[in-house]
C-alpha cells in the first residue's frame, strides 16, 4: 500500500518559505508514487493555499481560523491532531525550524508515532541525521508504523513548479484555541547589525578561537578588506566574546558576502545555515575533521593564533583600498 505523507507548511509574513517547498522534494523521495498532502494553517490563507496547490500539484488542507494567525504550539497541535488522527498518516513532515522542532515532538505523542528530528538524508525508511555538531552521522529507522520527521533546512532542494494537474484545496474552519498558551505577538530582534548585511567580507569567530583576546586578531584580519565586518557563531556570543548583533546563523542573521572567513567554527548546521550562501568560504580550524570543511571552498588546518598573523604579514599588511592613509603632501 502506498504511504500517506503529510507536510505541515509554514506561512510567515504573508509567504510560504522555501523550507516548506524543500519538504515536497523530501516527501517525494519518501513516497515516490503518491504525492503528499500539505496542511497549511492560518487566518486568511485561501490565496496562498491555492498558490501552493498550483505550484506543487499537491492536495492542500487549508485550516483557517482567527486564532491560527500567529503560530502557537498548543493551538496548532490541537488543530493538527484533530485533522491528522482520523487520517492515520504514515509520515508527517515538518521543516526543522523554530516551528517544526517546537511542534513535532508533541504531535508524535498525540499520533503515537516515532519522532526523528534534524533529518538530512533518506534511504528507504532510514533517516540520516548529525550528532556531535556534525562530527558524526547516525542512521535512524522507526520501528513504529508512523513517524513525525523534521528535516534540516537546506538538505533538499525546493521543489520545481509542478506541470501536472493542480492539487485540490479543502478548507477547514477552526475556531478553537489553546486554553493555556497564547501567542501575543512577534517582535523584531533588538540585535541587528546592518554592517553584517552590507559587508562584502566577513571574518567570523567560533568557539575554537579559544579566548576573547583572539577576537582582536580577527578584527585586525578584517581591516585588510574594504567593506568588512566581524561575525560570530552563537556560542561566541553566549560566552560574551562578541555582542549578539554579530551573530550569524539560525537565530541570528543570514549573510551572503563575497568572502566568508570562518575562524575556529566547527560548522554546526545552526551556523552554516546562516552563511552557506557566501560566494567564497575560507575555513581555518585545527580539527581536520571539523564539519565546516564540508562547506568551505578553501580549507586551512592551522591554529588561527599563529596563522592569522602570518596571513596579515603575507598580505603585506597593506591598508585596504578606500581606507588608505593620507598621502604625503596632503594638507
Amino acid at each position: 500500500m502506498e504511504k500517506d505523507t503529510y507536510i505541515i507548511a509554514e506561512y510567515i509574513k504573508g509567504s510560504i518559505p522555501g523550507e516548506t517547498l524543500e519538504m515536497v522534494t523530501f516527501a517525494g523521495e519518501l513516497s515516490p508514487k503518491k504525492r503528499p498532502t500539505i496542511v497549511l494553517l492560518g487566518r486568511d490563507i485561501a490565496g496562498p493555499a491555492q498558490g501552493l496547490a498550483e505550484k506543487t500539484g499537491c492536495d492542500i488542507i487549508a485550516v483557517m481560523g482567527e486564532n491560527l494567525e500567529l503560530y502557537n504550539a498548543d493551538t496548532y497541535r490541537r488543530a493538527l491532531l484533530d485533522i491528522l488522527l482520523p487520517l492515520a498518516p504514515t509520515w508527517v513532515c515538518l521543516p526543522h525550524t523554530a516551528m517544526g522542532y517546537d511542534l513535532a515532538p508533541g504531535l508524535s505523542v498525540g499520533l503515537k508515532a516515532a519522532c526523528i528530528t534534524g533529518v538530512e538524508a533518506i534511504q528507504g525508511r532510514t533517516f540520516t541525521r548529525s550528532a556531535y555538531a556534525g562530527k558524526f552521522l547516525v542512521d535512524i529507522s522507526p520501528t513504529s508504523t508512523s513517524a513525525v520527521l523534521t528535516v534540516l533546512p537546506g538538505s533538499f532542494r525546493p521543489c520545481r513548479d509542478f506541470r501536472g494537474p493542480v492539487g485540490r484545496v479543502t478548507t477547514v474552519e477552526r475556531s478553537g484555541s489553546s486554553p493555556r498558551s497564547w501567542t501575543l505577538e512577534i517582535k523584531e530582534s533588538p540585535h541587528r547589525d546592518s554592517a553584517l548585511k552590507d559587508a562584502e567580507v566577513i571574518v567570523s569567530a567560533g568557539r575554537g578561537i579559544g579566548k576573547k583576546e583572539n577576537v582582536d586578531l580577527l578584527k585586525r584580519l578584517a581591516t585588510l578588506f574594504p567593506r568588512s565586518a566581524v561575525g560570530a557563531s552563537r556560542s561566541v556570543c553566549d560566552l560574551g566574546w562578541l555582542d549578539y548583533r554579530h551573530q550569524i546563523g539560525t537565530t541570528g542573521q543570514t549573510v551572503s558576502p563575497k568572502l566568508y572567513i570562518a575562524c575556529g567554527i566547527s560548522g554546526a548546521i545552526q551556523h552554516v545555515s546562516g552563511m552557506k550562501g557566501s560566494q567564497t568560504i575560507v575555513a581555518i580550524n585545527t580539527d581536520p575533521s571539523a564539519s565546516i570543511f564540508r562547506v568551505a571552498h578553501y580549507c586551512v588546518v592551522e591554529d588561527l593564533a599563529t596563522f592569522i598573523p602570518l596571513l596579515i604579514e603575507e598580505s603585506g599588511d597593506l591598508p585596504p583600498a578606500g581606507h588608505r592613509p593620507p598621502q604625503p603632501g596632503w594638507p
Partner: protein, 261 residues
C-alpha cells in the same frame, strides 16, 4: 514555586571522540571526560535566578543515565540546586529522546512541579525533543528556545519570549505548570561557590531505577555512528603554515578579494 531542571551528561570534547568498532557507538574510553550539557547549564542558572527573585522556590535537578551521571547531578548541586534526582538507566548506546522523556515524565508526574526546565537541546544528539516530549506526556503547555521569562503576579501565568528565525522573537503567555526549553545566552551560568561545592560533596542524591518507572519501548532504532563523508568540494591548502598563508593570500588576490597597492 517548585522547579525541576533536566540536565544531561555529555562527553567533554567533540574533537577527541572516536567510534568503537564493536558497538558502533562513541568509544567512551577511560580518558573521556564528562560534563553537563552546556545548554542545560543555562536552564539550571535560570531556575536559580527565579529562586533568587521568588523566595521559597525549590530547585530540583534530574538526570537520566549510568552511574557516572551522578557527577553531573553533583555539579548541579554545586551550582546551587536544592535536590538531585538520578534516574539510573544502564543503556550506554542510543537511548531515544522518547524513552528519556517518558522516564522524566513518569518521575515528575506526582511531584507537583510548577515549572520544568531543560536546555533547548543536547550538544551530543542535538535532537531538540526531550522538553517538548515531557510536556506532551504530562499534558502541559510548552515553549522552546526561551530567551526571557517573567512570572505574572500570582505565579499562575508566565510570559516568555522565544527566539525564532530572522532574529525575531515570539511572545507567548503560558499557564503554569509549564515546560520551557531554554536558549543559551539567556543568562551567564555561575561557577559553583566553595560552600556549595563542600555541601554537594556530602549531599545525598535520590536514586530511582529506570525499571521501577517502566521503560517504554523505543519507537526507533539507531544504526552505527559513522564519520561524514569529508569529500568536501573544498581545497585543503598544503605546506608549512607560511606556505599556506602565502597560498591563501594568492587566491584572495586572484579573486580580487584582497587588493594590492
Amino acid at each position: 514555586m517548585k522547579i525541576l531542571v533536566c540536565v544531561k551528561q555529555v562527553p567533554d570534547s567533540g574533537e577527541t571522540l572516536s567510534i568503537d568498532a564493536s558497538s558502533g557507538w562513541i568509544d567512551y574510553g577511560r580518558s573521556t571526560v564528562f560534563r553537563m550539557n552546556r545548554y542545560d547549564e543555562f536552564a539550571l542558572e535560570e531556575a536559580l535566578l527565579i529562586r533568587e527573585s521568588l523566595p521559597g522556590t525549590v530547585v530540583h535537578a534530574l538526570s537520566v543515565g549510568l552511574d557516572r551521571v551522578g557527577s553531573t547531578i553533583r555539579r548541579a548541586l554545586e551550582m546551587g540546586a536544592d535536590h538531585g534526582i538520578h534516574i539510573r538507566d544502564g543503556r550506554e548506546s542510543y537511548v531515544s529522546p522518547f524513552s528519556v522523556a517518558s522516564l522524566i515524565a513518569s518521575c515528575a508526574r506526582t511531584r507537583g512541579y510548577d515549572l520544568i526546565l531543560a536546555g533547548v537541546m543536547a550538544e551530543d544528539d542535538m535532537a531538540c525533543q526531550v522538553g517538548q516530549l515531557v510536556a506532551a506526556l504530562l499534558d502541559l503547555p510548552c515553549a522552546t528556545s526561551v530567551i526571557r521569562e517573567d512570572f505574572r503576579p500570582g505565579g499562575s501565568e508566565i510570559l516568555v519570549e522565544r527566539e525564532i528565525e530572522g532574529g525575531c522573537r515570539q511572545e507567548i503567555l503560558l499557564k503554569t505548570p509549564a515546560v520551557l526549553t531554554i536558549q543559551p545566552g539567556i543568562n551567564a551560568p555561575r561557577y559553583p561557590s566553595l560552600s556549595h561545592v563542600l555541601r554537594a560533596r556530602s549531599q545525598p542524591q535520590e536514586i530511582i531505577e529506570s525499571r521501577d518507572l517502566g521503560i517504554p519501548e523505543q519507537q526507533e532504532i539507531a544504526g552505527r555512528l559513522r564519520a561524514p563523508d569529508l569529500t568536501s568540494q573544498g581545497i585543503f591548502l598544503e605546506g608549512s603554515s607560511r606556505e599556506k598563508a602565502r597560498a591563501l593570500v594568492g587566491i584572495l588576490h586572484e579573486k580580487a578579494l584582497l587588493l594590492q597597492r
